[in-house]
Subunit: 107 residues, 2 copies
């Protein structure tokens, strides 16, 4: 059982560091979708009911900068782009699964 | 392994339902702190570097309404109030632990 660090909540706290990156409602849902495999922008937009194109673009850019996802551009016309999780992104599966269990059983 | 529901991200998705409640950087950190036992407002404020009293008050109220935490008022003078996790709140331990593992190993 991972030791939950005591207080205070300094920047060295792994949970704070994780939340600094993962904060934001859409972030966890994007990761959940990409755990299901590569997705195109439009597929993500359809799946994430209510997300604006601007917010989705911003979130994907941030996740790419954090090396949680990668963007794949295909050399075809018309241009085709897909997003997929990196290994670092795939390591978030336990977080998403534990959210699913909690969401299923407790709300 | 909890089945991660396919798309789309309708309100029935347990992860979406969980994130509707848990969204917001401070929420996970408040839960992390209360996993360590009851805390007073001042203790939480000290632990959560940078949180404003207004934001902390708002977040605690929301978590209380969602029955994730409870507020304990002691019949003493001066008034003493503490916060603790409910059983529903304690069920979030796996989410916090998986965030700690990810935060430790990957960032």
């Amino acid at each position: 059982m991972a030791k939950i660090p005591g207080n205070p909540c300094t920047s060295s706290c792994p949970i704070k560091r994780a939340m600094d990156i993962l904060d934001g409602k859409w972030t966890m849902l994007i990761i959940r979708d990409l755990l299901g495999g590569k997705k195109r922008f439009g597929e993500l937009r359809y799946s994430l009911e209510g997300v604006s194109p601007k917010m989705l673009t911003q979130r994907l850019k941030q996740l790419e900068e954090e090396q949680i996802i990668r963007k794949i551009s295909y050399p075809v016309m018309p241009p085709k782009v897909e997003y997929e999780l990196t290994e670092k992104g795939h390591q978030l599966r336990p977080v998403i699964e534990s959210l699913a269990v909690w969401g299923n059983e407790l709300i």
